[in-house]
């Protein structure tokens, strides 16, 4: 930057904007967790509209300008469509708990593995690459469609896109770090009808992505500590699990909010859950699912090699039961638990059969 000259010239200055500020005299104070988003939800700045007519990208609480361009084209304009009670908390948590796949994973602990185990790990890493792609692409697509009046929820989705980028990168790194390579893609996350990609409604997408999809993947990541062959893999899976649990929390808390604030949508949501449940074990999107070839890889990793496949398969059944049980409890937490008692859901049957 070059040095500014000092001139005596006087310029005209239109300061009419000074008289058109939003609510004035706001003095948010840092709390024990710093100055979080929750701390600045004060006065008019904390007032969330049930339905917003903000189509100009105006920050919530700023003064509207009548001649501003309507550039937003926002499709998500109802609070119940996107909101969740703990959005500020989840966003701050995501910021606080970022990690680096380059420097926080002890890559030096990786040692050459038997070929069958290396192939199984690489297949899983290839699969997780695809999964992370969809989990990054799809929330990103909804961000620009959502009114900035609900920016806290939108910020959580942005943090998720960041997390998924890191997951994609850590699994690619693992696949290429130990004498293996990427394997054949699964194609499981493609644009089939009823898939995460094609959802036309945010809650529909969130039900598929956050609750059934990422819920199942969360269990897998947690299992990474059992199937990890070294500290690098164990840590990689554990840190991914923490991130994934935040994404799942978004889905559960959003569904809970919708259930409480838009009860007329319950029958529709039940249909989304029907579709998701039909895919949990039978579809290809769950790496531990009955149709997925990654299940074979998991059995090898959990058993400790092809020679112990049967033992690994038994552990795989434990995973499946965990996935189903946790899914049921999450849906129950979101306010849709009745479906497991009134015979609508097939999950209790699937759970009983998963032995």
């Amino acid at each position: 930057m070059s040095e500014a000259p000092v001139r005596e010239q006087e310029h005209e200055l239109d300061t009419s904007w000074m008289d058109q500020m939003g609510e004035w005299g706001i003095k948010a104070k840092p709390g024990k967790r710093g100055l979080t988003l929750a701390e600045i939800q004060i006065g008019e700045y904390g007032e969330l509209p049930e339905t917003t007519d903000n189509m100009t990208g105006r920050p919530r609480g700023a003064t509207p300008r009548p001649e501003a361009y309507r550039v937003g084209a926002y499709g998500v304009r109802n609070l119940s469509e996107i909101w969740l009670e703990n959005a500020t908390f989840l966003y701050e948590e995501a910021l606080q708990r970022q990690w680096s796949s380059a420097t926080d994973i002890p890559w030096h602990t990786i040692e050459p593995l038997p070929d069958d185990i290396e192939e199984a790990e690489c297949l899983l890493c290839t699969f997780f690459n695809e999964v992370e792609f969809v989990a990054g692409d799809v929330p990103a697509r909804w961000i620009a469609k959502t009114s900035p009046d609900f920016f806290e929820a939108r910020h959580v989705l942005i943090a998720q896109v960041m997390d998924e980028a890191r997951h994609m990168d850590v699994f690619r790194k693992r696949a290429l770090a130990n004498g293996g390579g990427l394997m054949r893609m699964s194609g499981a996350t493609s644009g089939f009808i009823g898939s995460i990609d094609l959802a036309r409604d945010f809650t529909e997408m969130s039900t598929r992505l956050h609750i059934s999809g990422e819920g199942a993947v969360l269990t897998m990541f947690r299992m990474g500590e059992l199937m990890g062959q070294n500290d690098a893999e164990k840590r990689m899976y554990r840190l991914c699990a923490q991130d994934e649990a935040r994404h799942v929390a978004f889905g559960v808390m959003h569904l809970r909010f919708l259930c409480e604030h838009a009860p007329e949508r319950r029958p529709e949501i039940e249909c989304y859950l029907d579709e998701a449940e039909a895919q949990i074990m039978a579809g290809l999107q769950n790496p531990a699912g009955t149709q997925a070839e990654t299940s074979e890889a998991l059995a090898i990793l959990l058993g400790g090699g092809k020679a112990h496949y049967d033992e690994g398969h038994k552990m795989l059944l434990v995973i499946r039961r965990r996935q189903l049980k946790e899914y049921m409890k999450r849906v129950q937490s979101a306010g849709f638990g009745e479906r497991f008692e009134n015979g609508r859901s097939s999950i209790p049957e699937q759970y009983a059969a998963a032995y």
Partner: protein
């Protein structure tokens, strides 16, 4: 030398954890939760705030069951003991002795929400690294067992 389990032992671990900033990074960043440990009949309440373990103390069962508690980690005393011994031996939980690994080997989770709310039980997963780092810090506490 502190005895496991005891309030004195947990407080020594708290001191180590809070004083070592290397335990507050790399996935174990700021953490906000109130949880509890049950070791046989003994109960302890733990509060994490930011990068600090703010409180660890003995508590009653009734207190553990209060709505304030996000989740409780409950294991048989011999499992707790095996985990702590493993940490003492290796400097950090080794092989299948991490909290997550122990949990996965049980048919039912060792962590549960007293209100049976999975969203709060999921905090065990969201903050798993902090709890692991906390117990790994116990490798620096001279420990005896009953």
């Amino acid at each position: 030398m502190a005895r496991f389990p005891s309030e004195a032992w947990f407080k020594e671990v708290q001191e180590v954890y809070n004083s070592d900033s290397s335990l507050h990074t790399g996935g174990g960043g700021a953490c906000e939760t109130t949880a509890a440990f049950k070791v046989g009949d003994e109960c302890y309440r733990i509060v994490f705030e930011g990068h600090q373990c703010l409180e660890i103390r003995s508590a009653s069962e009734a207190e553990l069951a209060s709505p304030e508690t996000d989740f409780i980690i409950e294991m048989a005393p011999e499992l707790w003991k095996a985990m702590v011994e493993n940490i003492q031996e290796h400097g950090a939980a080794h092989d299948d002795q991490t909290l997550n690994s122990i949990d996965l080997r049980q048919d039912d989770s060792i962590a549960y929400s007293p209100e049976d709310d999975q969203a709060r039980q999921d905090l065990f997963y969201r903050f798993n690294q902090n709890f692991q780092d906390f117990f790994d810090a116990s490798s620096r506490v001279e420990t005896t067992f009953d």
